[in-house]
Structures are given as C-alpha cells and as structure tokens.
Symmetry: C2
Subunit: 450 residues, 2 copies
C-alpha cells in the first residue's frame, strides 16, 4: 500500500516516499544526531502539525519528530507492516476484577489509528483495547462492543434510544459498570439523554471521550479510558456520569453528573464543566474523591427502569436582537411538538414574539425557557415581561442547562401523555438536572486577578 | 395617591396602608426595639423579597426592614412626599473635571425608582443622576440624555444605529467620554455593535448596566455608574468597553473589550466575562489598572469614522442532535442575507445539513460558523466534516463570540458590497474581536479543587 490517506503531506510525505516506507513499517529515523525506532503511524486529524513524523515506540507511546527543510534526516526501513492478527480472542479474565462493558459509538476516542492497515478505524474491539491500552487488564475484565461508528455531531435522538437499550442489555447480563466511548461534540446531550432513559440504575454508567486523537502525543484518550474503567468498576454510585480531564495536565479526571455538564471549550482537554454545581467525583490514578453526593449508591439488586424513547420534533431556538417571529411560526407550522427558547438574562425574549408564543401554546406545543447566559437560574417572576411570557404558557426551566432541557422535553413528550403533565414535569427535578437552590461558588470568573 | 403600583403586597402593604403613608413620605419605623427614619421607596422588581419595607435613609443609602407576622412594628408618618423640584437646572460645572456624556437607553440601571411619584421611572436626567448618585459631581461634569426607554431584550439592530449616532453627536461636541446606560440582557450585543459602528474613536465609550435595581439594598447600579464615570473621564484609551462588577463584592469593576464580552450568569453582579481574553482594565475607587493593551489611546484630534448601519435579516441558529434542515431552508426562503450557525465543538454541524448549507450559499447568503462551546476557537481543518463544510462555502469565525459574529455579519452586510468581500472580512480582525492566537490562561474551570 502507498502513503495515500496516511495523513502525511509536504516535506514529510516526500521523505517517507523516498525511503519507500509505508504505514505500519518499523523504521529507524536518524535526525540531527538522534536516533528513534518504531512503527510508522498515520495521522488521524487533518492539518494538525503537518511537519511531524509520528512513530509508536517499543514502550507503546507515540512520539512525534519535527522536520524542517534544514533537518538532517535519514529514514531506514527495518520491518514490514505485519498482518492484523486473527482477533476474537477472548482476553484473559482476572479473578476478583470487576466486569466492565465498553460500548463504542465513534468519535475521536474511538478513532484509533490502526497502524497495521493505516486506516483510521472508528471501531474498538476488546482486542484493540488491550492492544492499545494494556493497562486496562490491571483494572477490570473488559468486554467491548461496537454499537455504531459516527462523529458525535451526527448523533440523533434515535441513537440515544439505541445506546440506552444496549446499556440495559449489558446491565441485564450482570456487568459491574458500563462505559460508552463517544465523540465530545454532543457528549453532554447524550449523557443527559441516558440519565433520563436509564432510571433506577443498579450500577454506574460512564460516558467518556477524548479531545485529541490517539495518534497525537498529547492524546487524552488512554488516560480518560483507564481512569473511567477503574472508576466505573469500583465506585459506590449508580448514575449516569461523564468522565473527562479535570485540567490540562494528565493529573486527574472529573466525573460530572450526566444532566449538568457541557463542553465549554473547543479544544482543551479539560473542556467539560459541571454547570451550576460541582462534579460528583475527582479521580486520579490512586484515589476516588467524592465531591458531591451521588443520586444513588451501587446496588446490584435494584431493577433498571428503561425508558429509551425520545420525540424528534423538538427544537432549540436562541434569541438575539431583531429575532424574527417567523422562525417560531415556522416551527408551529411544521408540527414541532416542543420548543426550548434559549432567551436572554433571567429568561426574556423580545416582546415582538409574544403573539407567536401564544400561537404555539394554542397549537399544543410545549414552549420552555432557558438562558443563553448558561450559568445561573431562569427567574421569570422578576420583571413584567417574564411574568407575561409565563401567563402565555411558557415553562421556566429553573437552573437547567439548555441542552438538558431540550433532551428532557424530548423524553417527556415521548413518554408522557398530556401537555399539562409534560409542562409540570419539565420544571421538577428527576435525575439531578434541577436544583431548587444553587450554590454561589460554582461560578468562576474568567480573569485571573491582578 | 394610594399604594397601587408601589410593588408592596401582603403583610407589608397592610401595615403601610394602616399607617396611611404613601410612597415618598418620610416615615419612622419602630421595629423590634430599633428605629429607622427615611423616605418610603417603592419596589421596582416584581416578586423580590416581598416581606421588606425599603426606606432611603438620610445618608442616601436604601435600607430594607424585613417584617414577619411576629414582628412588633410601629409606623409613623413624619412628612409628606414633596413635589418634584423643577428640573432642567444645569448642574454646577467644576473646573478641571472631564466632561462626560451619559446616554440612557433603559434597563435595570435606568429604572430609577422615583420616590416622589412612586413610578418606576425608566429615564435618567442629569438632575436625577445628581440626586441619586451625588458622588458623580466629584468625578466629572456630567450631561445626560434619554435616548430611549426599553428593556434590552427588545433592543433591535436599528436601535444600535440610533445609539451610535447619538454617541457621534456627543463626540462632535467635544465630550471627554461617553457612557451608555443599558439593560444587561443584550448589553454584550450592543457593545459589539458600537465597536464596529464607531471606528477610529478619539475618546472612550463605555456601556454600563446593573443586575439589581436601585431600590434593592444589593444594587450595583451606583457603583458601576460612579466607577464608569471616573474611568471614562480619565483613562488613556479610546475604544468601546463594557464596565460591570468584577466580583460579587463591591470591590472593583472590569472594563471588558466591547467585542469580547458576554453575560455568563443570569443574576450575579459579576455576570459579565471576557471570553478568550482578559479584561482591558480593572478599576476600583482609587486606581485604574491596565490588564490588556487598549486598541487605541485617547486622542481628541482623531476623527471618528461613523458606520452605524446594520442589516436586520441575519439569524443565529444553534445546532443540536436531530436538528432539522427545514430551519435552514426556511431562512433561505425568507430572504435572510446572513446566517451564523452556532455549531458543536471545533465548528461542526450534522452531515444532514450539508445540502441546505450549499443551497444557502448558492442563494448568495453568507453562512458563518461559531461554536456553542463558547470558549476556544473554531477550527474546521481538523476533521473531514469541517473541511467539507468549508468547501461548501461556510466561513469559520476563529475565536469570535457567536454574538459578535452575528453583529459583525449584520454590520458587514450593511456596509460592504459583494458576498466574497464580506466573507473575507468576517474572519479577519477589525476591533479586537478575533485574535489569531489565544492564550491558555483565559479559560477557568468551574469547580474548585479538592
């Protein structure tokens, strides 16, 4: 095979081609008086540091060597890409280890670069996992399944249903905890969805992603996965949580409540934040610290209540100056059943929308209000305009995240009959998504003090 | 006059009625062995602490006395509400003080409670200002005008035009600085709009709001206004900034860059945060500290370039799982000229939208991409899906806030001919709204460490 699709370009591609090596070959690179040997890796992410050659060293770590046009570099092929070994081998089971199920849905964490074929493989098998992250063996007896293989921006409510059902199957088979590997873009939406769909959990369910793909030296994939596996197998809690880096260093991860977490940074490894509350656990390689009480403790005798259905005709609408009522009218005319208005401040929208809101409510649509501020609580009793919107029938979503309000409304509409019932349920806490009083300390200001 | 519309209710209203007092009367309250005298104030915000009587003490401060059904309370009327003095008096001018223009647009900061008439008066006159905040005299020679009187959720792009023109008039008349009092809900949108509309500023322009109305003991209105006045009269900077509390205590305020700031909490007094950058100045009662270099220094000889027009047919669309392309199609069919997609992560949207995006671009609509993460930078070169969206003609908005991208697109479409020109201008910095490299330190995590 050639280097097409390997992700290399420019100078680096030239040097690799000249040496006649391909992805998966064992090579030695002499570079400015240093020498490195390892397996040539492809690049999974387009356009990231195009000047690097990445090799997997014998230690299992990836290492990037930066070339410039001034670099003195000599590439030698030492061995040819080996065939992929016949998989399906059942990894050895260690007595006393918890049983952990890993379900893969796609995304960066699952876009493991297969250095045997050079393909960016969006699927994880149990064998792949043990190959890439051998440390998992020390923490749990892992079984792994590929549920789907999609970038998370393409996840739909029907996928939440599929994932929830697969988790239920694992739980029925007696697993001690379930991990879902998932892209980060809509990870917070899916964690909220599973929180509603999987009620009365006997064991913990943990979503995990990574911000940097595993061919990058800075990847957070392995650490997030190892700590999530250790955590889900041992923690005395049974709810849906999301585990990601707690700071940019590889020091610890947080387990956030599934209904209270969002991706707040495009690229940082500590992008996920609990909003209006603290994370539930802080986890490092030697300890699990409880920061906030979990909703339920682990209890293998508890029977899961599975409610996996979601209504797809629900929309989020963010308001802005000059927002046209035509957008709301469009949703009413197109048979939407629920609308979450992400309004301003304490839950306000332009006065010019009131007729359209009334029209939507008359049509039997549930209209809910959250705030684009993100932190804090909607309070529609403070100003006259908020009171008027409530009189029209809008439901104030308290301190719920917009994403969670959207997921919850979609879930309620699929599982509950009667608009009034849905409205009442929307503003009452089910799985920690609303707290009737928020603490002050959970909001941090951007700037460091001078 | 009666106590109708005074904002009092229940037990408190009963006690006030029984004593025969009305808003504006001087009263003495004996309450559980303590005695307070002052002018009876009405309540501006609906539903906030209904058990309090609020009086303005001789010191000028508001004081709230909480009544319970167990309270021993005795109310005595000491004087009757005085007639409003004939206004239009020109406040005395102090030699050597800077000339500061205050333009009022409405919102909580301007909803001064008039204790003479009992009305919640949304207008500030210069005389009102001196009456309520006598300290202003010590900082500047203030002139004040009422431009409009609206809650900020009702501000439209045409209002930005009106405000920009009014600021230009003040500058032409030789003011040393302009303050705009404005509701907080869309304060960040207006600060971005003025940043584009008022180019090449000779003096600083500062937007100021308050999160708690001036009849509440916790109001931030006076402090924000005093420090903003002092700041705008003296600081050696000439750009559009937004001044609000820097922490919940009354210790200091920040001056944020107009294009980089958003309301990030529904109710806290330090709700406004600079995103992806630091505030420009930190201001307390004794000093102004520069945290970030201003775009321009003060220069009275510089000539303002006024570009006050904005296109109203621009929309923000936030994506979510299952987002229907029908919403994008609606915007194309309804002659929108610009669409900002607030996508996920590094700037992604469901693959199912690609045909609608292509359709929109073909129709001559400028389609831009920002991230609902809020912090960080859109990077559409990392994953294949981002590359595909760019190939369809979407403009990646770098590290620009969604709100700022929306305002900028509206401004460019009104001031520049040719879609290609607008697209190129959108992703290049004009007034500090984009930085080509962001610092790490400006993102703070939610949780305190354990």
């Amino acid at each position: 095979m050639s280097l097409d699709g390997s992700g290399y370009s420019g100078l680096v591609l030239e040097k690799l081609s000249a040496a006649g090596v391909k992805i998966g070959d064992t090579i030695t690179i002499k570079h400015d008086d240093k020498e490195y040997s390892g397996i040539l890796m492809p690049r999974a992410q387009i356009g990231s540091d195009p000047d690097h050659i990445v090799v997997k060293l014998a230690t299992g770590y990836n290492f990037g060597i930066r070339l410039t046009s001034q670099s003195k570099v000599q590439l030698t092929k030492r061995g040819t890409a080996s065939k992929r070994p016949a998989s399906k081998e059942i990894p050895e089971q260690t007595k006393g280890h918890p049983a952990v199920s890993i379900l893969s849905t796609g995304g960066t964490i699952a876009s493991k670069v297969d250095y045997r074929t050079g393909a960016v493989n969006p699927a994880l098998t149990a064998q792949d996992l043990y190959d890439t992250v051998p440390e998992l063996k020390d923490h749990a007896n892992v079984t792994a399944k590929v549920l789907m293989s999609v970038f998370s921006e393409d996840i739909r409510p029907s996928d939440w249903t599929k994932i929830a059902r697969a988790v239920a199957t694992e739980i029925k088979q007696g697993t001690d905890g379930v991990i879902i590997a998932h892209g980060t873009d809509t990870l917070g939406f899916t964690s909220a969805a599973l929180s509603f769909a999987l009620q009365h959990l006997p064991v913990p369910v943990v979503l995990v992603g990574s911000q940097r793909s595993s061919d990058r030296p800075s990847s957070d994939a392995a650490m997030n996965l190892i700590l999530a596996t250790d955590f889900v197998g041992h923690v005395d809690a049974a709810e849906v949580m999301l585990v990601m880096h707690g700071e940019t260093d590889d020091s610890f991860v947080y387990a956030h409540r599934g209904t209270r977490v969002r991706k707040s940074h495009t690229s940082r490894r500590d992008a996920f934040q609990s909003i209006n509350t603290y994370p539930i656990f802080k986890i490092d390689s030697s300890s699990i610290t409880e920061m906030n009480p979990p909703l339920l403790r682990r209890d293998p005798n508890r029977t899961l209540r599975l409610k996996p259905k979601f209504e797809e005709k629900v929309a989020i609408v963010k308001t802005y100056p000059g927002f046209g009522h035509d957008i709301l009218d469009h949703l009413v005319d197109h048979q939407y059943r629920g609308i979450v208005i992400e309004g301003t401040g304490l839950g306000h929208a332009p006065k010019s929308l009131q007729a359209s809101v009334a029209h939507a409510v008359d049509a039997g649509i549930v209209v809910a209000m959250t705030s684009q501020c993100i932190s804090g609580r909607v309070d529609m009793d403070v100003y006259r305009t908020g009171v008027e919107l409530q009189e029209l029938g809008i439901v104030a979503c308290e301190d719920m995240l917009t994403e969670t309000a959207f997921v919850k409304l979609s879930w309620l509409l699929a599982n509950m009959k009667g608009t009034d019932k849905v409205k009442t349920a929307l503003s009452r806490p089910y799985v920690g998504e609303i707290e009737m009083r928020s603490e002050m300390a959970e909001y941090s200001t951007t700037a460091e003090e001078i």
